[in-house]
Symmetry: C2
């Protein structure tokens, strides 16, 4: 399947939903991908089964605080430089690119890098959503070494990191990202296609496209159509009444308050943020939490609003929906459950939190 | 010439003097070098003229805050790991190691790494003293690219940095050093012997050994013997009455006050510190400044006291002496003069500051 202008638009709307507020603004990713495909032709989306077992897949994206992506633009050569570093290090050609995370602009970033190189993008990613830390990947759950990892910035500095520990990889790449201005391009968990088949969330690019198409096709109530297609739950419909946001340590951290309108009047939902929406609280009770996805939608258009663009007065509907099952395993929750983010909360699947009351 | 137990002791006393307070405690470097030579045999000290033009020389040492070297011990495998990274990257064997700086423990560090690998150490270094920043090297003055640079820590993480800018190399390696605990092992400015012949301070290992031997041989007044051998100036003899020292941003920063005794009574000398002693001030007047060397000596033994071991009550003699002429060039002063450290002062050579008054 070719990624062209029409399905890129659907893809961008879908990656915004799967970003759970993070992964960077999909519209920026869309503009870059459209330009790259206009300049170099459409990019092929391939299934992992269509690749040879030992084809080299570069899991890549931008790392940093999404707030920075608004102001600091990549220079366009990052993808080529990452590929050069990977090919020099491994001594063989790269076969395809894969989004490190399907959420937000990172779900589209490999497309703009793949277009000038004539490489395909695989229909899979390493999170099935967006998460703030490099440790929070399905490849980490699968026990694959995160290194060698590669990082480059818009000045042309490039870094190759040999580390077996995902925690140290995250710490070192994060501190370098902060030093170089809060945003950098990375490739880590370099995989063979054979490894990728069992260590990634498969079909996530197609899923994002289908979700985007659902929004495009919805005749009257796109929010309802989306909630149904993701087996989700509407948490509140209302207005953003407070946003506290800091860009710190290479992340966006803060919270937002959404006050209910009409049927939800008198209710207030609090969103805890670290790049992504991590936890939705109401009156001290958890309404949804990581690793499940919490996405803030424009109440009219159902376009997902990334955390860096939340602002006072926005009319929004907050929805929650189940994560990929891999995140509900013991190791998945250890890496990306509420406690991994410092919240002293037990994880409850969103469908249990919102189960119809038993009579 | 073989570096054995006897001349290592002289070398360590000399590198402490040339450290100008920095480069880490030479005694730690001596213990490691002695152990390595006991385990693997003495290390050959070679002149650059004795190497083939294209022999690969690895300029290496520890980077970080000297205070950290007191508590955080290297694991011993850093040198071998740096060599592996360099050889993999360049695709050919390393010919010799060279101290990045002759000052302090860094003047000895390549010896403990070279011993188990059976490599020689060259009689040269990249500073002719110790300086806090990686930018402050004679290779930088010579216009040689600082990258690729290599960094490793005691956990086995290794990093290869491709950068043409010494400033970015310093910033990135420094922030990674801070993240990994304040001390790391680095190799940068990988040189051929032909390049090294015109881009280093030659003979500095021998010089350090000669200075150390001067101290060992001095019958009665080692301070006077040392001052004479370095064409130096005694700035004050007294007692340390105040030390302010912070380990911050991968450096030791602070100041120390030395109050004069006997002939120097009523005088107070202030030393400004960033790893090294940068500037000596008296009543607001500069008595000596970078790039010239300011070294604090134990008044009895003339052993140099590194800045991280300065403490109240020490009886010390502070001396200043001329740096290698390369640092007095326009580019040298730009990189390592008082203004490079944020002091709004014009550099005056120490021999002019202490010239006999004209009649």
């Amino acid at each position: 399947m070719k990624l062209d202008d029409a399905n890129l638009i659907a893809l961008a709307r879908g990656t915004a939903v799967l970003g759970a507020g993070g992964g960077g603004d999909s519209r920026i990713g869309l503009l870059a991908a459209q330009q790259a495909c206009a300049d170099h032709g459409p990019v092929e989306l391939v299934d992992l089964d269509d690749l040879h077992d030992d084809d080299l897949i570069v899991c890549c994206g931008l790392v940093g605080a999404p707030t920075v992506t608004i102001e600091k633009i990549v220079n366009g050569a990052e993808g080529e430089r990452l590929r050069e570093c990977v090919e020099t290090h491994f001594g063989r050609p790269v076969g395809a690119l894969m989004p490190a995370e399907i959420g937000g602009l990172n779900g589209l970033q490999p497309i703009s890098w793949a277009a000038p190189m004539g490489l395909p993008v695989v229909d899979a990613d390493g999170m099935g959503r967006a998460f703030p830390e490099l440790t929070q990947s399905t490849m980490n759950i699968a026990g694959i070494s995160p290194g060698p990892a590669f990082l480059t910035d818009e000045r042309g500095t490039a870094l190759i990191l040999l580390a077996d520990s995902a925690e140290w990889l995250e710490r070192i790449l994060r501190c370098v990202t902060v030093e170089t201005g809060g945003l950098a391009a990375t490739a880590d968990y370099i995989l063979t296609a054979a490894e990728a088949r069992t260590a990634t969330v498969r079909g996530s690019v197609s899923l994002a496209m289908r979700l985007g198409q659902t929004l495009i096709d919805a005749a009257s109530d796109p929010v309802a159509a989306l909630v149904e297609s993701v087996s989700g739950h509407r948490l509140i419909t209302g207005k953003v009444i407070d946003v506290e946001r800091r860009t710190t340590g290479g992340f966006v951290r803060g919270h937002a308050l959404v006050e209910g309108l009409q049927g939800d009047a008198q209710r207030v939902l609090r969103l805890e943020i670290q790049n992504e929406n991590l936890i939705a609280l109401e009156g001290g009770e958890v309404r949804a939490s990581v690793p499940d996805l919490i996405t803030v939608l424009d109440s009219e258009t159902a376009d997902a609003v990334p955390t860096e663009l939340l602002r006072y007065g926005q009319r929004v509907t907050v929805i929650g929906f189940p994560c990929d099952p891999i995140w509900r395993t013991e190791r998945g929750l250890e890496l990306a459950g509420p406690r991994a983010f410092g919240y002293d909360l037990e994880y409850s699947p969103i469908e249990e939190l919102h189960a119809p009351a038993q009579v």
